[in-house]
């Protein structure tokens, strides 16, 4: 079989919010040939099914729905005449930035000057939870239910229980209610909600949907269709507390229990993965540990706000373009960044000190009236940000001026 061959300056893998912004930015930075590869039949990725509003508040100063937000970038992409391959799967990627892609036209090998990974993430499924009980139909991940209801006009059930208080679960609680289903309750194993506070208010409280914290589903019932679930309180170690079980009749269980960055391609290319984020280890240009391969969006770290994804992807796209055009001078030394007290992770994991950058972080638990403090290897304070409220559900994004890094070779961020 003859395989077609092609060369491109920048190849972006994934046509969701991150890929769209990265491709547009790479082109604007001056990369002559930018190619965007998307496995689905339309661009926009997850935004197509996120029909609720609230996207673009930061960027466009408007509360857009997901499809509207995506369309703004698709319009930019078209006006810049960026090449797009739809219905196309990247089968492999190696450390020399060679991609093997499959489309209805057959296989193609593409040599890329730089690659931007923007594959997004997938949902943690029922199988990963190892729920005791039967295996009836009626158990969906929240995102699959969202696809069925919002894009395919298929109603998933009439009486639902939602496990996990992530944003998609909360959004779906409201969506099911508006579509006439009864949502019996949202159950969260942690002692606090995982979703944004505004979604607790406008998706649950507005519709009197109860949120049960430190409670989880411990058994599924039903032979062909789900007939109910047993829920139980859990202790601090998240173990079910005997005697607190309650049977909740329902025909539908939605799972909103976490997202997993889809890094199979990244691993194959030899990209080092951070075990905490599940995404690539990157520097301040968002370049991974493999030269010329960049990462952004939910495949890099799971975001809560799409505006942040776009910002991150624009940075990755611009740096990828500069790399492809030979305009990036590699750093000879890096300042290492470390998560200190109260911080679950920091991103980027290392910085060159040559440019200003945005530091992303998540805290380990909800906290009030604290400060986020950056200190160098000698304990000297570099940056201090007061925060009235810190919550694991809300990603912290801090702009760091490169001048503040002078003399540092290791930086730690902690909550004080």
């Amino acid at each position: 079989m003859k395989i077609k061959k092609a060369k491109r300056d920048v190849v972006v893998v994934g046509g969701g919010p991150a890929g769209l912004a990265a491709a547009v930015s790479a082109k604007k930075e001056g990369a002559p040939q930018v190619l965007l590869i998307e496995r689905g039949r339309v661009l926009g990725g997850i935004l197509n099914q996120c029909i609720h509003d609230g996207f673009g508040l930061h960027r466009f100063k408007q509360a857009l729905s997901g499809p509207e937000y995506a369309q703004r970038f698709i319009d930019d992409l078209e006006s810049l005449s960026i090449d797009v391959m739809l219905n196309t799967m990247v089968l492999s990627l190696d450390g020399e930035r060679r991609l093997l892609v499959s489309s209805k036209d057959g296989l193609m090998e593409i040599e890329a000057g730089a690659v931007v990974l923007a594959m997004g993430c997938r949902e943690r499924t029922a199988g990963a939870l190892m729920l005791p009980g039967s295996r009836p139909t009626g158990v969906y991940t929240a995102g699959v239910a969202q696809t069925l209801i919002n894009l395919q006009n298929i109603m998933v059930g009439q009486e639902a229980v939602i496990l996990g208080s992530g944003d998609i679960g909360l959004i779906m609680a409201r969506r099911l209610t508006l579509e006439g289903a009864k949502v019996k309750g949202v159950y969260e194993i942690l002692p606090y909600a995982s979703g944004l506070p505004r979604n607790i208010k406008q998706c649950l409280e507005d519709y009197q949907i109860p949120l049960h914290l430190a409670t989880t589903v411990v058994e599924l019932h039903g032979s062909s269709r789900l007939t109910g679930v047993t829920v139980s309180r859990v202790d601090e170690a998240r173990r079910p507390v005997p005697g607190t079980e309650e049977f909740i009749p329902c025909d539908t269980l939605l799972l909103s229990v976490g997202l997993i960055p889809e890094n199979e391609l990244s691993r194959e290319a030899g990209v080092q993965i951070d075990p905490t984020t599940g995404g690539a280890v990157v520097d301040d240009t968002l370049m991974t540990t493999v030269p010329g391969i960049f990462s952004c969006g939910n495949v890099l770290q799971v975001h809560d706000v799409v505006d942040d994804v776009s910002e991150e992807a624009e940075s990755a796209g611009a740096h990828a373009a500069r790399y492809a055009m030979g305009r990036m001078s590699p750093a000879d030394t890096y300042v290492q960044l470390r998560a200190g007290k109260g911080i679950r992770y920091l991103l980027p994991q290392k910085v060159s000190g040559q440019m200003d950058f945005v530091l992303s972080a998540r805290v380990t638990e909800p906290m009030e009236n604290k400060a986020l403090v950056l200190r160098d290897q000698n304990g000297k304070g570099i940056l201090r940000k007061k925060k009235i409220r810190l919550h694991p559900a809300v990603m912290v994004r801090v702009k760091v001026d490169r001048d503040r890094l002078k003399g540092a070779n290791r930086i730690e961020m902690g909550v004080e």
Binding site: N48, I51, H52, D53, G54, L57, H58, A63, L64, S65, G66, P67, E68, Q71, I149, N150, L151, Q152, N153, L178, E179, L196, P197, R198, I200, K201, Q202, D206, D304, V305, R389, V394
Partner: protein, 124 residues
């Protein structure tokens, strides 16, 4: 009387406190604290008197490359009118092509909003 509310305007989700007083059967907001922006302050003043929300849903499309078009209200509507508006949204049909911003229903359930399309649907 003091009320604590979570602002729904943006992902900050400010916990806002409002000093509220009842006068002649109507609630009146005397003071708002804890909002990080002016919009949030306005939102609280409105929320105490009459909560407003934007809602999103989808409408059946005839002859399109997608079976549904996503829609939303173009301005916030009273919280207690949502289910009446949804009844009209559920009954609506639209023929492809549909463009972003196209008005699908005007003034549903007597509200002053329009239901507008939020995605493009091409003819099949």
């Amino acid at each position: 009387m003091r009320k604590t509310l979570v602002c729904v305007i943006c992902p900050n989700g400010c916990h806002v406190e409002a000093e509220v007083q009842e006068r002649g059967g109507r609630l009146e907001v005397l003071e708002v604290t804890g909002a990080l922006c002016k919009k949030g302050e306005r939102w609280v003043r409105q929320e105490v008197v009459e909560p407003l929300r934007t809602i999103s849903s989808s409408v059946l499309v005839e002859g399109g490359d997608f079976p549904l078009v996503s829609v939303r209200t173009d301005s916030p509507i009273p919280l207690d009118s949502i289910f009446r508006v949804m009844d009209e949204v559920k009954r609506a049909r639209v023929r492809a092509p549909v463009s972003i911003g196209q008005v699908i229903i005007s003034n549903p359930a007597g509200t002053s909003c329009n239901i507008i399309a939020t995605r493009m649907v091409n003819p099949a």
